[in-house]
Structure formats: structure tokens, C-alpha cells
């Protein structure tokens, strides 16, 4: 393409297709994170005894890695279904915040679009899209929707495909590779970058302490109690810090 074809218009009124392409490009670094996470889920799920269809259904219907791993672990601990669901859904409650944050930008979109967007509102698509909307709050609704569509174009298919790869080839990994420890390492790696404020650290500390002290509680209910206490600790620490600052 000749350099002279670049018009000064492109920046101010970027066509819809370019919003889509920009979204796709912005999502590429996140895609690299998704592949190992999804493969790991495929591997761990098949190790736990799920077949490929069940493993794929998890990744397609839920698309939320941390809660999928949580559910898998609790099922292996023989926890009752109610506890499995309550704890895994608690992991996903943060997404209610994503849903709120998207309303000013996408609230006017047709219902079917909002439904699709909600289904694909994962950590990575939220983080990428939200940054863009903060940077260009005045972009048109169509551009904002197109950008989101661009972001999820690599993310979601890669999530499914990598889960499938993990599920199909993971069964061939011999047990001496200590795969039981894939989940702890993955979770620690996901939590560690979030431990950047005192309330987050305090919440994590109470969560660990509570889970260990309450390990005797039947049906894996100790974790749920510990998580509740940890959430309150985070919130109270935040209030305390604010009160001290003023």
C-alpha cells in the first residue's frame, strides 16, 4: 500500500473494521497466557477422570479457568455438589464488577449482543476492552462492540482448542511428572500479581489460615467459611486504611 493513502481522517473516525482489528491485535499477548492455562485444565480434568466431552463442556459452557479448576478440585475431594457450586461461583463473583463496568459503554447494545458479550466477558477480554474504552470513551457504540468482538476472536477459540489439546494428549503424561501440583502452581501464579495492596494481602492471609484451621469441617465447607472471613477482612482493612488516611 502506498504511504500516501494514509488519510488524517483515520484517527478521528476509525471505521468499524479497524476497531475490530485493533481489538484482535491487542488480545494477542493475552492469547499466549490462555494457551497454557487451558491446556493445563484439559490435562488436569482428564487426570481427574473426566472424558473429553465433559472437559470440553466445562471450557465451553463456563469459560472461567479459576472456577473450573476449583470445581474440579472440590469434586475430587468428594465435596457435595452444593459446596462445589457455591465455592466455584464465589471465585467468579468478581465478574459482576466487570458486568457493571461495561454498562456505560455497551448498555445500549441490542440484547442478543449483550448476551454474547456477557458470555465472553472473561478476565482477559474485560481487561483489554476496558482499557480501550477508558482511552476512547467517545467511540461509537458500534465501534465499541466491534472492538470487543475483535478481542474475543483469538481468546475464546484458543481457550477451547487448547483445552481440547490438553484433554487429548494429557492422558499420555506419566504420573511421575507430579501433575497433582499443576493446580497449586497455577493458582499461586494467578494470585501473586494481585497481592499489591494491604487489603489484598490481609484477605489472602485470612483465606490461607482459615482454610488450614478449618480443614476438619466436613464436606469441604471450611474453605467457604474461610473465604467469607477473608472477603470481610479485605473490605474491613480497606475501610480502616481509608479512615487512617483522612
Amino acid at each position: 500500500m502506498a504511504p500516501s493513502s494514509e488519510s488524517p481522517m483515520t484517527d478521528r473516525a476509525a471505521p468499524r473494521r479497524s476497531a475490530y482489528v485493533r481489538g484482535m491485535v491487542a488480545a494477542i499477548p493475552f492469547s499466549l497466557v490462555i494457551i497454557p492455562f487451558a491446556m493445563l485444565f484439559g490435562v488436569v480434568a482428564t487426570e481427574a477422570g473426566l472424558n473429553v466431552i465433559q472437559t470440553m463442556s466445562f471450557s465451553v459452557l463456563v469459560i472461567a479457568g479459576a472456577s473450573q479448576f476449583t470445581a474440579l478440585q472440590l469434586m475430587q475431594d468428594q465435596a457435595p455438589v452444593v459446596i462445589v457450586l457455591a465455592t466455584s461461583l464465589a471465585v467468579n463473583l468478581r465478574m459482576a464488577m466487570y458486568s457493571v463496568a461495561m454498562v456505560p459503554h455497551l448498555g445500549a447494545a441490542p440484547l442478543w449482543q449483550r448476551g454474547l458479550i456477557a458470555y465472553m466477558l472473561v478476565d482477559q477480554s474485560f481487561a483489554t476492552t476496558y482499557q480501550e474504552y477508558e482511552r476512547r470513551p467517545d467511540a461509537s457504540l458500534a465501534d465499541k462492540v466491534a472492538y470487543f468482538a475483535g478481542v474475543v476472536t483469538p481468546i475464546c477459540p484458543l481457550w477451547y482448542a487448547a483445552t481440547w489439546l490438553g484433554a487429548v494428549f494429557g492422558a499420555r503424561i506419566p504420573p511421575e511428572y507430579a501433575l497433582d501440583f499443576a493446580l497449586p502452581i497455577t493458582f499461586l501464579a494467578m494470585i501473586a500479581p494481585a497481592l499489591r495492596t494491604l487489603p489484598h494481602v490481609a484477605a489472602a492471609f485470612v483465606s490461607v489460615l482459615g482454610a488450614l484451621v478449618l480443614a476438619w469441617v466436613p464436606y469441604s465447607g471450611g474453605l467457604l467459611i474461610a473465604a467469607l472471613a477473608a472477603m470481610l477482612t479485605g473490605a474491613q482493612t480497606e475501610i480502616w486504611l481509608k479512615a487512617r488516611a483522612t
Binding site: 465478574m95 466487570y98 458486568s99 502452581i185 501473586a192 474453605l223
Partner: protein
């Protein structure tokens, strides 16, 4: 150990529906109403409240060793946590943790 297939399907479907409803909640149904500050304050800490507690017993009392603390797993957990805090990059933390998990038995064997 086998998981009951019916139970697995119930968890998959209910978790899928529940997760969708959480994501759809405000965008789809409630609309542009600001959340009360106290609720936001608690939602901020949900991930960090559940995930460390889930991991802690697996790190200290791994089933693979019959519940006895294992130096390789402890070192791997410390490496993943430390690298994640320092680099703020989950991928580095995973690679570091996995490398530590496999290298610790080798290093201990050399001593």
C-alpha cells in the same frame, strides 16, 4: 477414584449457567445503576479470598505424598508466589514454579 458422571454434568451445567448470570447481571438485566460502595468493596476481594485457601492444604499436605509436606512442592509453591509478586506476570511464575518442582529433587539428590 471415579467421579459420578451425573454429578459432573450437574456441576458443569449449573456452574455454566451461574457464571453466565453473574456476567450478564448488570449488563443484561439491571442496567446502568451504580453498585453500592459496600458491595463493590467486598466483590474486590472474592478471588483473593477463595484461591489462596484452596491452594494452602494442597501445598502443605499433598495427597501424592500421603499428606506429608514435600520439599519439592513447598519450594515450587514459594517460587511461583515469589516470582508472581516480583514480576507481576503469571506466566513467569508458572514457569519458575514448574522448574523448581522438577529441579528440587535433582538438587537434593546431589547433596
Amino acid at each position: 477414584m471415579t467421579l459420578d458422571p451425573l454429578e459432573v454434568w450437574i456441576v458443569i451445567l449449573a456452574l455454566g449457567i451461574g457464571t453466565f448470570l453473574i456476567r450478564f447481571s448488570f449488563l443484561g438485566l439491571v442496567g446502568d445503576r451504580p453498585l453500592p460502595e459496600w458491595l463493590l468493596r467486598h466483590l474486590r476481594y472474592t478471588s483473593v479470598a477463595v484461591m489462596p485457601g484452596l491452594v494452602a492444604p494442597l501445598v502443605l499436605w499433598p495427597q501424592a505424598t500421603g499428606g506429608v509436606p514435600d520439599p519439592a512442592r513447598l519450594a515450587a509453591a514459594a517460587a511461583a508466589l515469589g516470582l508472581g509478586i516480583v514480576t507481576r506476570n503469571a506466566l513467569w511464575a508458572i514457569f519458575g514454579g514448574v522448574a523448581t518442582l522438577y529441579l528440587t529433587p535433582v538438587l537434593l539428590g546431589l547433596l
